[in-house]
Subunit: 663 residues, 2 copies
């Protein structure tokens, strides 16, 4: 299998080390330690095993490589340069960590080819890779070995394994028996503060074994041992950990093995010493042709494999299905199905919780889109994420469409990122909105990457009632709205919920969060020729004649706004009602359109959450807000609404005050 | 040791079961499964081991009990009622989960006596308990066995052990060899979605053993076995896991052992069947005197122990030190020290990063307050949290004041909650601000509890430069400001940093987050007779004559505001500068005071973060903002500021536009 071993392979590894130390030196910033320490392991992995084709970086059946220890980004850039990715010329390496370069401080998905996921926040890479490896097996179960047959390799460090999310990922991967996942642990026993002995004494090898992993340990600078371990890992049907005992900064003779090489340039003297030590006679950023040739032969092997795969695909009766799964969701069919469903809802006018509306919408969605994959962090019956006929994805049978993620909100969000990044499947998963705090780092990373994952977050306010303030989101919606490139929906009824699903499923580069009620809500909308939720906020009930006040509400509080409007009408006051299911979509509209929706009359925002995010977009000085100012409490929901003054009466009274104040 | 075993002890456990199922039934909501399943274990723990005195619920040397599986709150309420806590009358149990009752859906610290920490979000309890157990040993190292000699017991469920934070807690506790921590795992093999086999196959006992724990397994309904295991756990110097194999909902004959008993009332028929099955002949909420007497004897034992402790304390030469550690920080000395330090700074005018300013302030603080305990999630040299002479807290020597929390932001935050809840020590700990997302669930819980923990969050904007968008907070400050009862500081220089530390250390019931720069910042403030940061926002530079514009900035952008003010002065425009280090403190001031600070001229907010949170409090329609609208990038910091238009020029230009627009 392996075209080049021995001395030439050693030189391939040396090239990584030198490029890493030189680029960090040029940038005056960065992390030479991990690339130098893991250069041998990475070289063996790529030289003898990885099947990738830089000329088609999105080839679906490529192996995935995840640098979970993202600070070691120069390892990735050095390799991708030598492999010949056309966007990773030497100019990029020279411009490591500079504005406009593709060589960002940490590897960023979409920023350069050959980067499968963004890493840097520790633990995310390995947890995202679990999703990739699961997606591979699920796609394999659908399309067979001929078309789906690849591996997910991860390099991770001590930090990744100390982070809590690693536990969720490891437990889940072991349970799902993800044999296509191979983790190469950079066991250098160094953290930033010093030796790992400062803060941990867990036996990592034993730890992985207790979660059902295949575990080996090797000298990470013995390339034959590394190769043998990867071969053995591939032969075992469990996920594999290979503990690679390495010396951090290997090759820097005076600094290696110390935390001093972790995150700072080596300095000119040590670089010169390393060059001598490594027998490297070339100038910075210069590579001999024979080393380049060796790396290019890896790419050539991958190109050949890709062509063979393409031929198999072309001959396959499944070609159309494979292709469909890998392209964007069928937006037109989805629009038709959602529109028809909304018409039914407008006729039936169900009074159900939006978490139930979501399930109803999903029945439609999952029928139209065969490659959605649902799941929940052990709240299936509460999140209503499992539609009829969905069977569980298990180690024994991966044909299913429903994933029991376990009580692992963070791991679920990261795994969903990985499933979406892998391609072929559209993941959505549920938990309580209050626990979006647990999954937040992975939601943010998905937003940064632009991965269209759908987070179903139910029990979205004090409306959940008795479980009390630990479970009641008051600030979570504001906090999610704060993350760039996330669509946060808080639909008012079944129709808006269906519309939100349509938008979320067809947003190509944006994760979505659906905030859904526990409590029943009436149907407040009529069907419309277009998806009104896409406007972000729109006039749900206009007034006859000039408005006295505009009531702007989201989700469960739209019902309240309508009731207050009725009450005000009884007092001879004209209150328009604006439903605002998605702030981000509204903010993206031109100012004139927004002003036309909101009008010039006094405004009252109504949301059983904190006010942050309302001012500026909806509210002006002097406008009012009905909502929360602190944590909730434990009691039945209707009592809580009264207790916190989120009522029709309070709204009507505030409207009267504002109208009188304005006259 | 144990006054009552056998039949009477069995009846004590039955009383928990019956009270739990009756209270859940009355509430029509709640979780009978865990209290009924763990009633035997809890009864043995309290009856034979726990040393608490309900007449003095804050007795410092009491044992701590943490119900990490917080949904099983009725177990706590039932026990605390029977123990005789004076705020937990039967009326409270009847009012389980009702508005105004102390019997909230999940146990809430401060809401009823005898609740050591708020639980509900899974994994938090066990991780907070780790901090308690560490604090106990640290206090013991300071004051000796006579005065500090207690245990921390935890009941946790499968969910707690699946959550990632449990890994951080377990690894850290094993490394610190916290032998005073005993975790009783409710091993009922049931989760909400069904059997644990749906989502996990980790061997939990082996897992704990790999992290250095003492591990035992018992039948959780065999009280003698439970007692023997607790005794053995106390004799081992490692933290202990006791896997208690239980039947969820034990005692409900037709439903026990199934996930149906987890989180819903049993129903009248099953409750009647359970009464018959358990041989319980009493009405709902009625208890025979002999069972009450048995429980009260536990309290009597505790009261005796407390009196003995009090006598030892009274005789101890350490009494004054113990008392001082347990009372609020010495605010007057601290004020004097900070004022003197600020005077020095005003003279020296250092140009240092606020993370460095923080270290300088800590040198002063740690000298005045002997019971501060620093730490970092493996970023000591970056967070600058370790002052001179601070030695590490290790398993071998707990006299130190510095904790290497490891790469565990979430576990650190939870442990700090536990240290603060324990009493006697004032914890602060550092990480990068971007990773506040990791610790967020514990920060929120600290805010809900009102625990004065100080989170030192450095690298607080794109000003960190090359590490790029994964590490650059843009929305984190807004997201933290969204959490109720958190003080978020973003100081502009060394003086404001010192003032922020003073406020944070003396805030009795509020956690604080200090957002600190990586890059150097000049001293912009003069010393003042009072702590100006306490005003939240204040006029740093006023104008001669009427203001043309008010520039409002925080942290590193205050320097920029001053430079823009200079530039505008050169253009003949009068620009006042307001420094706004703490939005929450400013928001708490009367509207007239706020208006006086901000003035009527056009306003520009300047913060290298997103705008959310500025409108309403500082900005009006038409006012301007200089900041971020999306994720950052990887490049040297000065280039990023230019790239994103956060510059003196841009500020001055926007000011000109606003001034012209307003004229």
């Amino acid at each position: 299998m392996a075209p080049v071993h021995s001395d030439q392979e050693a030189a391939m590894a040396t090239a990584i080390r030198v490029l890493a130390m030189d680029a960090v030196e040029a940038a005056k910033s960065g992390h030479p330690g991990a690339p130098m320490g893991m250069a041998d392991v990475a070289t063996v992995l790529f030289n003898r095993f990885m099947r990738i084709d830089p000329s088609d970086d999105k080839w679906p059946d490529r192996d995935r490589f995840v640098m979970s220890a993202g600070h070691g980004s120069m390892l990735v850039y050095a390799i991708n340069h030598m492999l010949g990715y056309d966007d990773m010329g030497m100019d990029q390496l020279r411009a490591f960590r500079q504005l406009g370069s593709r060589t960002a401080g940490h590897p960023e998905y979409g920023h350069a080819k050959g980067i499968e996921t963004t890493t840097g926040p520790l633990g995310q890479g390995i947890s995202t890779a679990v999703g990739m490896a699961l997606a591979e097996r699920m796609m394999n179960a659908r399309f067979g070995d001929d078309l789906v047959d690849h591996w997910t390799y991860v390099i991770c460090g001590d930090g990744c394994l100390m982070e809590g999310i690693s536990h969720e990922a490891i437990d889940f991967a072991g349970h799902q028996r993800l044999g296509r996942l191979i983790v190469l642990w950079d066991d250098n026993r160094i953290t930033i503060d010093g030796g790992t002995g400062l803060s941990t004494s867990t036996d990592q090898q034993a730890r992985f074994a207790t979660s059902g992993w295949h575990v080996q340990a090797v000298d990470g600078h013995d390339r034959e041992a590394v190769a043998a371990a990867i071969t053995a890992a591939r032969q075992d049907d469990r996920p594999s950990l290979i503990a690679c005992r390495t010396v951090i900064g290997y090759g820097a003779p005076n600094k290696q093995g110390s935390h001093d090489v972790h995150g700072a340039p080596l300095g000119a003297a040590e670089i010169a010493a390393a060059r001598a030590h490594l027998g490297w006679t070339y100038e910075p950023f210069a590579l001999p042709q024979e080393i380049l040739d060796s790396w290019r032969s890896v790419s050539a092997r991958g190109a050949k494999a890709r062509l063979a795969w393409q031929e198999r695909l072309n001959r396959s009766p499944l070609k159309a299905d494979v292709t469909a799964s890998l392209t964007a969701p069928a937006a037109i069919q989805l629009r038709q199905a959602i529109a028809a469903f909304c018409q039914t809802l407008a006729n039936d006018r169900p009074k159900v919780a939006t978490r139930k509306s979501s399930e109803m919408a999903l029945e439609v969605v999952n029928a139209v889109l065969p490659n959605t994959v649902g799941g929940s962090a052990d709240l299936t019956g509460s999140n209503n994420t499992r539609t009829k006929g969905m069977t569980a994805v298990t180690a024994a049978d991966r044909t299913g469409r429903y994933i029991h993620y376990g009580i692992r909100e963070h791991g679920m969000a990261a795994a969903m990122n990985g499933i979406a990044l892998h391609g072929g499947l559209i993941p959505y998963g549920g938990t309580f909105l209050a626990f979006s705090d647990y999954s937040r780092p992975a939601i943010r990373l998905g937003a940064l990457m632009g991965v269209p994952v759908i987070h179903v977050m139910t029990h979205d306010s004090i409306g959940l009632g008795e479980d009390g303030p630990t479970h009641q989101p008051v600030e979570h919606v504001a906090a999610l709205r704060a993350i760039p490139n996330v669509l946060v929906f808080r639909p008012a009824d079944a129709i808006e919920t269906a519309e939100a699903w349509e938008i979320a499923l067809t947003a190509p580069r944006t994760p979505s969060v659906l905030c859904l009620s526990r409590q029943n809500l009436p149907t407040v909308r009529d069907a419309a020729p277009e998806n009104l939720t896409r406007q972000g906020a729109y006039v749900l009930r206009d007034t006859d004649g000039p408005r006295d006040v505009t009531l702007i509400a989201t989700g469960s509080e739209v019902e309240l706004a309508l009731a207050a409007s009725d009450m005000l009408a009884g007092q001879g006051l004209r209150a328009a009602v604006v439903s605002a299911p998605c702030f981000e979509l509204f903010a993206a509209r031109p100012a004139e359109e927004r002003e036309a929706v909101l009008g010039q009359a006094p405004r009252i925002g109504i949301e059983a959450l904190i006010r942050q995010g309302w001012d500026g977009l909806f509210l002006r000085p002097g406008d009012g807000f009905i909502g929360m100012t602190g944590f909730g409490a434990s009691a039945p929901a209707p009592e809580l609404y009264r207790h916190f003054g989120i009522t029709t009466d309070a709204t009507a009274e505030l409207a009267n005050q504002l109208i009188r104040g304005g006259k």
